[in-house]
Symmetry: C2
Amino acid sequence: MSQIIHPIDLILKKRAGEELSTPEIQFFVQSVVANGEQKLNPSAYRPAGSTITDAQIGSFLMAVFQKGLSLRELADLTNAMRYSGETFDATPLHSFTVDKHSTGGVGDKSSLLIAPTVAAAGLELSPSISVPMISGRSLGHTGGTLDKLETIPGFDTQLSLARMTEVLLETHAALVGQTPRLVPADRILYAMRDHTGTVESPFLICASIMSKKLAEDIRGLVLDVKVGSGAFMPTYELSKFLAELMVSTGELAGTRTTALLTTMDEPLGRFSGNWVEVWECIDIMKGVRHPMSADLIELSNALSGWMLFLAGKSATPEAGAKLADEILRSGAAYKSWLQIVAAHKGDISIFTDPAAFHKPKATRVLKASRAGYLSSMNCKQVGWAVQRLGAGRTKPGEPVSAHAGIESHAKLGTKLAAGDQIFTLFSEDAALLDEPYRMLEETVQIADAPPQLQPLVREIVTKDTLPKK
Amino acid sequence: MSQIIHPIDLILKKRAGEELSTPEIQFFVQSVVANGEQKLNPSAYRPAGSTITDAQIGSFLMAVFQKGLSLRELADLTNAMRYSGETFDATPLHSFTVDKHSTGGVGDKSSLLIAPTVAAAGLELSPSISVPMISGRSLGHTGGTLDKLETIPGFDTQLSLARMTEVLLETHAALVGQTPRLVPADRILYAMRDHTGTVESPFLICASIMSKKLAEDIRGLVLDVKVGSGAFMPTYELSKFLAELMVSTGELAGTRTTALLTTMDEPLGRFSGNWVEVWECIDIMKGVRHPMSADLIELSNALSGWMLFLAGKSATPEAGAKLADEILRSGAAYKSWLQIVAAHKGDISIFTDPAAFHKPKATRVLKASRAGYLSSMNCKQVGWAVQRLGAGRTKPGEPVSAHAGIESHAKLGTKLAAGDQIFTLFSEDAALLDEPYRMLEETVQIADAPPQLQPLVREIVTKDTLPKK
């Protein structure tokens, strides 16, 4: 006989900072899902005793925000969310499944390089590696992998889990969006957090990210946790704390998990937008390495390297990064990319001349107002400028422009002459250029002395570096 | 032009422990009332921009629970709640209005003595004093003045504010329940707090109590804040903190406010229940002072004394207590009581022989199991025993028994022989005696040495004793 659990008891315990039991946390997640389904469909079946109200969910989320969760509670919450709906089942793949996840950046298209790189390694090595990558969309100042992929004519990101399995068996990577029935608890809780002022809890952020990633049935996970002016988390310490929570949660779920803390102080690579980011990746996979893409390639190889290391394909992460770079340079990644895109019904013919497919209606160039070193910018503001050009959205569901975005002509530390190009802005609507231009102009700083720059990879968090209890 | 306030902004500020502005707190209360009215009546008018959701109210209440309120915020919250519906207007009385409020006890019928005592003083002195006493009902382990009054045949506690004014002009006291439109914000917020685990916040408790008391348009207020095993607040320190919050809030609203911290370690007076408590007061007002009523008379006089002092009718609270005792002894209070009851349509003929009106169907006596001193009891458990006998309720709206209750035959410190009576239990249903009997038997302790007893009035909190900021 299981004891009856009441929502109020969970609230009273968490309010006092006490630890909830595993059944209590499972009850909370199940009740939240039942409450959410009830609202969508008032006649829906509601399990007995699962009644929780919106007010109780709000109160509980704020108590968690204030008091936090133990690592055990966090693993339980993540697990209960992970199994709140359907999950991907990797068993039929007979493959080591591995994925990467980024906390969100500007110009960060590394997934488009990493998936084909690791998939190419997966094709050639035994046992194979597969990348069941469930990605998100652009929101706020950050871009989204799905929006970039969907600029490829025909590319279908909305695969069923069954079709996802077929694509993975064929190409060793799938690049898809969340299905409606995958991790419904996160969709409901995210909406609740959004309007109850409980979004920024590192515990709730961890559970949200990790429940979705672990629902991919992955055996390895590499997390790219951004730090710097373009990162979601406001401080280095909070980014590191989140990284530690996610590594702990992944490991407690039996998934080898590593987090790289990486610098996001300026847009990554040459382009930020949607199609322009795909174009940049095609160039790289074809062997064309634009100088502005150097940081992107470095980051992608570092992340791919860790994925290959976790999968047992390299002796060290560094050797994995070297292998990833070889796969990119050899054309194997591009071959894999063409197969992946074709499996998603994408039109690969446009890759022949990706520059030709870039059709902004209006452009403007921001130039250096004086000579000096490009010394700083608020990368979040740059991301918002990209959004305002039409490439992003402020609310889920809004359309995005395929051809809006910016090109970076200089990186932090670049020595500029007055009049040198810094950014080219693209939009499908000339009226949308003014505000982003002013935003970029305002945030870009030129100084007489070169800036102190941070390395791209700041720190690596693994199971072994976690603080001891 | 007023700035638009969003619920999420209030939550984010309070979440971080920041101070909300007066308009922000007013917005919160107005939104809560609009939200509550919307639920009762979906077509109700809803002021523009007042939209707040249940989840947001729950989250905000938990943030307040965790972070507290400044004294200024608390005064603003109390004020906004006070004016959330109709309020009593004392202007037509041309009288100094004063009331008392207790945080709730067992056997505490002091209101029934205080109202006629102070009203009697109000009749005789100029300018007059009036007691517009809006009381509550029994809940949980505590009794309620309205339930006691309603055992008097015909007694009408549900007066309109207009009728309340007439009664006050005539008798200088009114003993009534909250009207449906008085302080609706408290009714809604209390229900929200109850199910979101945010009841025990001293700030929210203060706002709830003080908004209702200040809605009586009183110029003086004496608070009886219970401490000890029968008090709502779990520690002396928390009771004192609540007392300080209430005194500060009252004074900031321009009402002279004093709090007495008083001991609630055993039932007050001779009887605990409903009619039996009225009976005990009638005896006292008729000049019959049962030895078991000594603590009740002491407390009533102390509270009445402070009320008379705040109203300027005595030079000191002690002189006020002496005056109150004289009014009780002289029969003036009883005369006032008869007028007050008659004005509420109560049948005063039953006061001729109050013992005869006590008609329990079943009684049982708890006797001392051994010789020794009555050394302790959990007074909350005694209160719950009274409730289980039928005198109280666990949920608002439940009916209560007029004739259930207990009689105390001994006070803490009494030297008992084995077999001496300690409590007599009364109920209208013999089947209801067993559990309360066991509860009382379990909690009553007899020891060889006399207990260390606390004085009835432990400490007095006034504007002058408040901690300096």
